[in-house]
């Protein structure tokens, strides 16, 4: 490296060395993780089917065909039909769109809020920290479903409401995690070094704390996607979420539950994507954690 100082100085402005080794190493170790690749495949399948549902779906999900009601799987209806003769396969695909929307918006909004609130709680003054912790714990003390029941009783069910409930209930978890990592960082030497340079509080929080706390959080986020999807399905199943004509995995299950004695296919068709999505995101999250978490990679 700096063999002779004058060599360095005499050299023309050298191009900055390009290094991908660290990233490539992580990518390689991810590709070698079979469980992770399986998870990734499921997740991609979930995304593709939800995004391209209008093109893939053989029928309009809400088109009624009473004569063909409650059929089992056949070439015409891959997953059979429900009690109103709607094509279950198409409904499952469209239900995936609801699930994706809820998962994407719900998880990313909770992550964003959780990070901001967590950093403020951890880095801010102590009284603010105590106040915010109190708020977080109060929210966390409510079971999601009970909270949803209470709110829906007042406002009536809707998709937006499901989203809001999901965000409100998952923010405290993320925020607490971020707060803990922030507290650990707060007294490290590099933060003091930034303060000594005159860096503003906002700058320290955004540029120096945030990049160091988001890593584990993204993994947690990935693993929380199935939780969010099941919460939506659960609320819809209870009639508190998506309203009946619209297809959602929860409503499909709900309707299937009513006719389970006549045809079990509805419950099966509504349940399988739920299971696969859950598995996919969980595997993906675990693989990401194994690859990204340096403590698990050190090998000592």
């Amino acid at each position: 490296m700096s063999a002779n100082p004058s060599d360095i100085a005499a050299a023309p402005l050298a191009p900055v060395e390009r290094r991908f080794s660290a990233r490539r190493e992580k990518l390689l170790s991810f590709l070698q993780n079979g469980q992770g690749m399986f998870g990734l495949t499921l997740v991609l399948l979930f995304f593709a089917s939800a995004i391209f549902a209008p093109w893939i779906a053989p029928y309009d999900p809400n088109a009624l065909d009473i004569p063909a009601r409650m059929q089992g799987p056949s070439w015409a209806h891959l997953a059979g039909t429900d009690q109103l003769g709607r094509d279950t396969f198409s409904r499952v695909l469209y239900g995936g769109r609801v699930a994706l929307k809820i998962a994407a918006i719900g998880v990313s909004a909770s992550l964003a809020l959780g990070i901001v609130l967590g950093i403020i709680a951890g880095y801010g003054p102590r009284w603010l920290d105590s106040l915010m912790l109190l708020a977080f714990d109060t929210v966390r003390a409510f079971p999601v479903i009970v909270l949803a029941l209470a709110v829906v009783a007042v406002t009536g069910p809707s998709l937006e409401l499901v989203l809001i409930i999901i965000i409100v209930t998952s923010v405290p978890g993320y925020a607490r995690l971020v707060r803990t990592s922030t507290l650990a960082l707060k007294n490290t030497e590099f933060i003091t070094a930034e303060q000594s340079l005159g860096a503003s509080t906002w700058r320290i929080m955004a540029k120096h704390i945030m990049p160091n706390v988001v890593g584990p959080l993204l993994i947690l986020g990935a693993m929380d996607v199935p939780v969010v999807v099941t919460v939506e399905a659960g609320l819809s199943f209870l009639g508190l979420g998506v309203l009946p004509p619209q297809a959602s995995w929860g409503t499909i299950l709900n309707e299937g539950y009513l006719v389970i004695r006549e045809t079990p296919w509805l419950v099966v068709a509504g349940g399988i994507p739920l299971v696969l999505t859950t598995l996919g995101f969980t595997f993906l999250g675990e693989a990401l954690r194994d690859v990204l978490d340096p403590r698990l990679r050190k090998g000592r």
Partner: protein, 692 residues
């Protein structure tokens, strides 16, 4: 002579994604029974890998590719799990570098020490406890019957290290390995631990391996020495042979670089230019050839064998080749064999000193000394207000810094020296407004800094920068070097035309390789990270730099480079430094004035050379004498200072140093000494100064 441990032709590789790292290659070494063997080397030399291999505690990606380890007739590499359990702890035990992390925080010392004896089934708990207490007494812990019930956090660093030694000796092992046993300790503690290890070794006729980068410790403690470089044994021999008749240029260079060796001030310290070779792709010839001042053609092509240099003295260097070698090598001790460090070329210096269009004269227009600190006091709350009231504590505070005063002129260097807990770092942070001051004043060029709001302080921060103790840990881990060194411009909204060019200018200034600008802090060596820290501090052309342990955690050869760099920057930019350290040899080379701190007070303050020549305060004397000299003939027989730094919450009455002072008299126990001047202008806080 009987050997306890014999390592023959040992080679160890590490599998990494970047290829195989040949960490150890053909290591041969013997540990004679009843002697102390020192293994010296800088970071990356493989000295730790040797001991982990001996203990069979290598990381999972390590492969022993060849060789044998013979331990009292047994083949260590062939042990199975059961044999290993009997071997570790029972036959060989380790004293670790950091007792803070190697002891179990949730168990009392009694429990931990009894656990060590779990294999001795024939002993009752009471007998084991008795053994433990006896061992604690032996390592110099007063009141062991009580202390055995303490937890690690209730002990100070020095006491913990004593306990580590006690624990290591519990099973009466055949071999004791000490891995950097004093690196985490202060000078006075280091002297005490060294003394303890030497006397215990003599008493028990124990066999000891001491691994360290500290030549002073090795010279003071060891009988035989092995010098390692880049995974090879480059020289081995008797301690006197190594220190007085070093045959390998690397050994010679290490000795020459040690700041404790060079006693004159204001001279460039010798350094070893270059870096360790890449252990994945080794050079064909000698591993040291690229950095060797005496390199010749043979070194580049033929790997040198261990040449015999004397009785039980070998060195891996072609200079000893009977025909092709250099009969004039080695030159007499005292002659410097290393290259003189090059001053930077003119072109480079010009480039480096052409800054972005900025002038630091924003707020620094006042008159007066660069920095004037007057009766600065910093206190921390020791318990909550409610608890204090309930417990009846009238004053629930501790003073970390107690009424210190000093001045720093332009272009001058002040060294602030003291053991940990002396308040030196707190003082620096208080000056920069990073911790709240209780009373007193800090004036920067006549402008009062205490009580300034963050916004009012911000423009002044351009003029004063701080360098932090941990070279890597003080850099934000997710930022590249490029954004780290240019960040000061962003913070102070200094317009920069070309960030790259500015970053390159700073890199050149601190001699940091430009093509590393896209690296992250953890990808840098300690010396490189330190340079980035210096570059950040210098980015806005400050007037004053507060450096907290600028050489801590760096190898000896790199320490010299950093000190040279700081000196050079001072000359070219007229900087003022306040250097905080516990390492006296380091400040000796760079400081004009010294302030010696003890328990938050300055006990001696004055000209650096005069203080070194004739310390006036007993504490200063202890510190100066406490430096382990890299000279085996000058072993100190006595520990100059007993005891440890008392807790800030329980300051001794009278002179606060009296419980540890060898000269203490009745007056010291009751009456607090005041600052008073000596004839040569020093200020001292002692009733009975040693000089003047």
């Amino acid at each position: 002579m009987d050997t306890q441990l014999a390592i023959r032709d040992l080679s160890v590789d590490f599998r990494t994604p970047g290829g195989r790292v040949h960490a150890l290659r053909h290591i041969d070494l013997d540990v004679p029974k009843g002697k102390i063997l020192g293994i010296v080397g800088e970071s990356g030399s493989g000295k730790s890998t040797v001991i982990w291999t001996v203990l069979r505690l290598l990381a999972g990606n390590a492969v022993v590719t060849g060789g044998k380890i013979d331990f009292g007739g047994k083949d260590v590499l062939g042990f199975d799990e059961a044999a290993l359990r009997a071997y570790r702890g029972e036959e060989v035990s380790v004293i670790f570098q950091d007792p803070m992390t190697s002891q179990i925080p949730v168990l009392t010392y009694g429990q931990q020490m009894l656990d060590i004896l779990y294999r001795r089934r024939n002993l009752s708990v009471a007998e084991k406890r008795k053994l433990a207490i006896a061992m604690m007494r032996r390592v110099g812990i007063a009141d062991p019957e009580m202390r055995i019930r303490s937890y690690p956090h209730q002990f100070s660093g020095g006491m913990r290290q004593r306990i580590s030694i006690a624990m290591a000796l519990m099973m009466d092992p055949f071999l004791l390995i000490a891995d950097e046993p004093t690196t985490a300790l202060d000078v006075t503690m280091e002297a005490q631990i060294m003394h303890l290890m030497r006397s215990l070794q003599a008493e028990l006729q124990a066999t000891l391996v001491v691994v360290s980068h500290n030549l002073g410790l090795i010279a003071q403690l060891c009988d035989e020495v092995v010098v390692m470089y880049a995974g090879e044994v480059v020289e081995r021999g008797d301690v006197r042979q190594i220190f007085y008749d070093a045959q390998h240029p690397y050994t010679r260079a290490l000795i020459e670089c040690d700041p404790a060796r060079v006693l004159e001030r204001s001279r460039l310290l010798p350094t070893i230019a270059g870096d360790l070779p890449d252990l994945r792709d080794l050079p064909a010839g000698c591993v040291f050839a690229a950095r060797c001042p005496k390199v010749f053609d043979m070194c580049l092509t033929v790997a040198p064998p261990l040449y015999v240099a004397g009785a039980r003295h070998d060195a891996r260097c072609h200079l000893l080749h009977p025909q092709k070698g250099d009969p004039g090598w080695p030159p007499p001790i005292g002659e410097i064999t290393l290259y003189e460090p090059d001053p930077p070329s003119r072109e480079a210096a010009e480039f480096a000193s052409t800054p972005v269009a900025l002038k630091s004269g924003t707020a620094a227009s006042g008159q007066g000394p660069m920095l004037k600190v007057d009766s600065l006091r910093v206190r921390f709350r020791s318990m909550g207000a409610l608890r204090a009231r309930l417990a009846g504590v009238a004053d629930p505070f501790v003073d970390a810094v107690r009424n210190i005063s000093f001045e720093l002129e332009r272009g001058e260097t002040l060294g602030v020296v003291g053991e940990s807990g002396s308040g030196k770092t707190t003082a620096a942070r208080a000056i920069l407004g990073l911790v709240k001051t209780h009373s007193g004043s800090v004036a920067y060029r006549g402008r009062e800094l205490t009580g300034l709001s963050a916004a009012a302080f911000k423009p002044l921060r351009r003029d004063m920068a701080m360098m932090f103790q941990d070279p890597v840990g003080s850099l934000s881990p997710r930022q590249t070097v490029l954004s780290l060194v240019t960040e000061p411009f962003d913070i102070h909204r200094v317009p920069v035309d070309d960030r790259y060019r500015e970053a390159e200018r700073l890199c050149d200034m601190v001699r940091f390789p430009r093509n590393f600008l896209s690296r992250y802090p953890h990808e840098l060596s300690g010396g490189q990270a330190r340079r980035v820290g210096v570059a950040r501090a210098l980015a806005l052309q400050p007037q004053l730099i507060l450096a907290d342990e600028p050489t801590a955690g760096l190898d000896v050869s790199v320490q010299g480079e950093i000190l040279n760099l700081m000196g050079e920057l001072q000359r070219t930019h007229g900087l003022s430094y306040m250097i905080i350290t516990h390492n006296l040899p380091v400040v000796r080379h760079i400081a004009d004035r010294l302030a010696i701190m003890y328990l938050g007070r300055i006990v001696e303050y004055g000209n650096c050379d005069r203080i070194f020549a004739r310390p006036a305060h007993p504490y200063t004397e202890a510190l100066v004498k406490g430096i382990p000299r890299p000279d085996p003939e000058k072993r100190r027989s006595l520990v100059s200072i007993e005891g440890e730094v008392p807790s800030l919450a329980r300051r001794p009455p009278g002179c606060e140093f009296h419980p540890r002072c060898p000269y203490a008299q009745d007056r010291c126990r009751t009456e607090e000494p005041l600052d008073r001047p000596l004839d040569d202008g020093r200020l001292i806080r002692c009733h009975f100064p040693l000089t003047g």
